[in-house]
Amino acid sequence: MSGKDARRAMLDAIQAATEGVRDDDPAAAHAALTRPYRQVGERDAAARLDLFEERLVDYGVDVSRLHASDVASAIDEELARRRASKVVVPLGFPEAYGVGVGARERLADDASPRELDAADATVSTCAVAIAETGTIALDAGAGQGRRAASLVPDVHLCIVHASQVVAVVPEATARLEPAVKAGAPITWISGPSATSDIELVRVAGVHGPRTLLVLLVTDA
Amino acid sequence: MPRASLFVPCYIDTLFPEAAIAMTRVLERVGVDLDFPRSQTCCGQMHVNTGYADDVDHLVRNFLNVFEHAEHVVAPSASCVATVRHMYPDMAKRSGDPALIEAVDAFTPRVKEFSEYLVDDLGITDVGASFPHSVAYHPACHATRLLGVGDRPLQLLRNVAGIRLKDMPRANECCGFGGTFAVKNAEISAAMLADKVADVIHAGAEVVVASDNSCLMHIAGGLQRQRTAVRTLHLAEVLASQEGVPA
């Protein structure tokens, strides 16, 4: 079988090429690498939220700060404003927030791509958010839905709890590690999609949701 | 009294002796005891950078022999100093000669570019020069990026009496010389030079100053071809200039 030959030949070539430079115990050598960059941010919680909001606004994201008790009405308002009548509500999306979807037609997140394409919006929670980069991370956990759900409809309304906002990237990767190790797909979203491919003119919204809304819950 | 040996790169020796003469005058003025080992020839930069490093091992050995006993070696060219400091160790390593590797490692830190020597080793930023003209400083690539001389040349220039320093747009961009690049890829080199000349003219200075004659030779070539009145001078020539003794 030529596949096995290729594998053996490549590994042999690599072994020969790395003769004299490779480590006897790669895991130990890797663990010994120094990481002199910031592992945690220095900002306090309030400054962190401010920065996160600033970054989102910079990306053209609509952000509102609110209390948990106001989320349902805010969802209703936003969906109404965008005339969304068909809404994807992922499994495990908090009941108290889901009330805001009201009598609108609901779609589960396991709908087919074609069905999702006919939906107007998706509501979701997130796993963690990064202030410095204005990033929201989804890890397919409860309320976040399958990947296609937050991708195909044109509006993505994401609930972020203040306690989920970390300052810098390494804090987020640390929080996501258990999900990664469990094989969960991870998606990082930093503003709506964008392209500058035509004469370097920035166009917001190409293939993902062209509208990204963030409800930042300050008391959760 | 500080002592230093002059390393005058072959093209400066041959084509731009006035830069090395100016450097000699400045260093002697600030009290350095100089010598010029006559057996020096060329550091081999042109060969190394063009892919002929293996043809000039003997130049490395010659260089080491010539300057073996020097306390400091000072040169009016960041480019050639960079060759000695950055390329010689690689060449020594490739030769596989442990004695050469050791000699190069021990020797190369003593080789200094003119402004490095003045500012770092002598602690001097004012050499008592006078130059009542407007000047645009071109930070030569090898001085800034390879040697990291930073703003040392500017520190020296700022203390020159009567000088008026002008900002130059995109000053950090290469002039397009690149040694044999100017011959091998002459069209691109000329396009880069045209932009540099436009930026020099835009700066509106009487004189362009750099710490390397190679860039200056290139920029001057473009300026003269366009019949502009802007002159080019080596940093040492400006620093050598005094009232009654102009550059």
């Binding site: 596949g3 290729a6 594998r7 690599i14 490779r22 790669p26 890797h30 002199p36 960059y37 990306y59 396991d110 791509p113 394409d117 204005g134 990033t135 296609a148 991708l151 195909v152 990767t173 990664v180 094989g183 797909p185 998606t187 990082w188 503003g191 999609s193 392209t195 491919d197 035509i198 004469e199 190409v206 293939h207 993902g208 | 072959c10 400066i12 020796d13 084509l15 000699t24 010029f36 006559r38 020839t41 042109m46 063009t50 892919g51 293996d54 043809d55 000039v56 003997h58 130049l59 290469c174 690149g178 044999t180 100017a182 011959v183 691109i188 080199s189 030079l193 045209a194 070539g221 003269q224």
Partner: protein, 482 residues
């Protein structure tokens, strides 16, 4: 350029590109604006240098232990439900992908921008089976419709303006001219509608990978437009072709590269979308996943320090954007999917075609590339090393370089500089020999390869007295005075 497989050598392609005014203006715009933004995005990071050092160290470690990490990656991808394939060269990789696509029975494949699949000419290989690979990145779609190779790692259609793009779209999407303006937003909208249908119906997607995590089997694609998410999520089958140098040991290592890459690349704090997937996830995303590990010159490149340093590259294109040569000639001139400074060192090592030997000379060694490289590849030093190899190769094959006069001159100079006596003789000879070309103290219309110089520049004639003569005269005078 009609056929990307037989590109013109750099010295022929570059002057043509220089003469293309539109291209030069576009390039100057994009490179200068990205340069400034990149500088702002990196300087606001208090630990940027520490991140660069860490990025370099992690890559160095991984490449030194590449065999170990590839085997680990294979095991973890397999455990997560994926299938790993090994391809020694482009043909083998293409054969694997063609067979996998044929098994699905589909004729249409959606593709995420991938330099690796460009490198192996996968689209052309699929076309031989009657399979159409649709590029879904906007710029890649544009160059695909125009039947051109991309000209920039990051902005592949940098050489196309909006009216040219409109014309391409009108024809390809079968639109009436009244339906489409040349507004970039309208053009992007047209591409969205056209591609949406393709995403919803595609059975197979092909992607590259920015990173692959050995210990978890997680693949990572970094992008802006959402086409990457579409391709890695909607189709039933996902085939990822990845150069073996893209592996990193652990998930944690990505915390370094996901900070370095967007700021260096698009000059953003973070790119809009990053997708990570681990094998197959039941009910979510493609239910069949294949990972093709491509060698194609990489294991050979790994053999020495220059090669290992080069393979650290994370394809950000920062070095292109700061390169004054690239700024003026663009990507096509390099005749390779990898242009600019990194291309000038990577192409000769990976491909090693006869004409690639001149790529390392496409640089003034100004060092701007090294200054911005997020993984600190000392590109200028490697360029010099590649030049040395070019000279060796050409000598070994008794093939004189195109500029053989330069070769002769340098060989001569190496002999002349050997002793001070010969050096001084050569100096005197040059002073005498220049006479035919001196006009009013200036050298004009120089012969041979030097003509390239005197075409655009003056050169002062060699003065009568060298520095060493001045020094001796002064010494003698001082002795006499004493």
């Amino acid at each position: 350029m009609s056929d990307a497989r037989i590109p013109l050598p750099f010295h022929e392609a570059a002057p043509r590109a220089l003469d293309d005014g539109q291209l030069r203006r576009n390039l100057a715009n994009v490179t200068s604006s990205i340069r400034e933004k990149r500088a702002a995005m990196t300087s606001e990071m208090p630990d940027w240098e520490a991140l660069r050092d860490a990025g370099k160290a992690i890559k160095e470690h991984t490449l030194a232990n590449l065999g170990h990490y590839l085997e680990q990656l294979e095991a973890s991808v397999t455990a997560a439900g994926g299938t790993v394939h090994w391809a020694r060269d482009a043909d083998e990789a293409n054969r694997i992908v063609r067979d996998l696509v044929r098994e699905t029975g589909t004729r249409d494949v959606v593709k995420v921008k991938s330099m690796t699949t460009d490198e192996i000419h996968l689209n052309e290989a699929l076309a031989e089976d009657g399979v159409t690979a649709i590029e879904t990145d906007l710029a890649e779609l544009i160059v695909q419709l125009a039947h051109e190779p991309s000209s920039h790692i990051l902005v592949p259609a940098i050489h196309k303006n909006r009216s040219e793009i409109r014309a391409l779209f009108l024809e390809a999407f079968d639109l009436d001219p009244s339906e489409l303006s040349d507004d970039p937003a309208a053009l992007a909208g047209a591409a969205r509608r056209f591609l949406r249908e393709r995403f919803l119906t595609a059975k197979v997607a092909v992607s590259g990978a920015n990173f692959a995590v050995a210990d978890t089997g997680t693949l990572c694609v970094v992008e802006s437009e959402g086409n990457g998410r579409m391709c890695t999520t909607l189709p039933d089958t996902l085939i990822t072709v990845m150069g073996i140098e893209k592996v990193v040991p652990t998930w944690r290592d990505l915390e370094v590269f996901l900070q370095l890459l967007p700021r260096s690349s698009t000059a953003e704090r973070m790119n809009p979308y990053t997708s990570f997937w681990t094998g197959v996830r039941e009910g979510d995303g493609p239910q069949t996943f294949h990972l093709v590990l491509l060698d194609a010159g990489r294991s050979a490149t790994l053999r020495d320090e220059a090669g290992r340093d080069t393979l650290r590259c994370i394809r950000c294109s920062a070095c292109l954007n700061v390169c004054p040569i690239y700024e003026r000639v663009g990507g096509h001139a390099y005749g390779s999917v990898y242009p600019g400074p990194i291309g000038a060192i990577l192409t000769p090592q990976l491909r090693g075609a006869k004409q690639d030997g001149e790529l390392p000379y496409a640089s003034t060694l100004c060092g701007a590339c090294y200054e911005v490289c997020p993984v600190k590849i000392d590109i200028p030093s490697i360029l010099v090393e590649m030049r040395r190899r070019t000279v060796h190769k050409e000598r070994a094959e008794s093939r004189l370089p195109a500029t053989s006069l330069i070769d002769a001159a340098l060989r001569g100079a190496a002999v002349a500089f050997a002793t001070p006596r010969r050096y001084e003789a050569a100096q005197r000879l040059a002073r005498i020999g220049q006479a035919p070309w001196v006009r009013k103290g200036v050298l004009k219309n120089l012969p041979g390869p030097l003509a390239g110089w005197s075409d655009a520049r003056d050169l002062r004639a060699i003065p009568k007295q060298a520095f060493r003569d001045w020094w001796r005269e002064r010494d003698e005078k001082q002795e006499m005075d004493a």
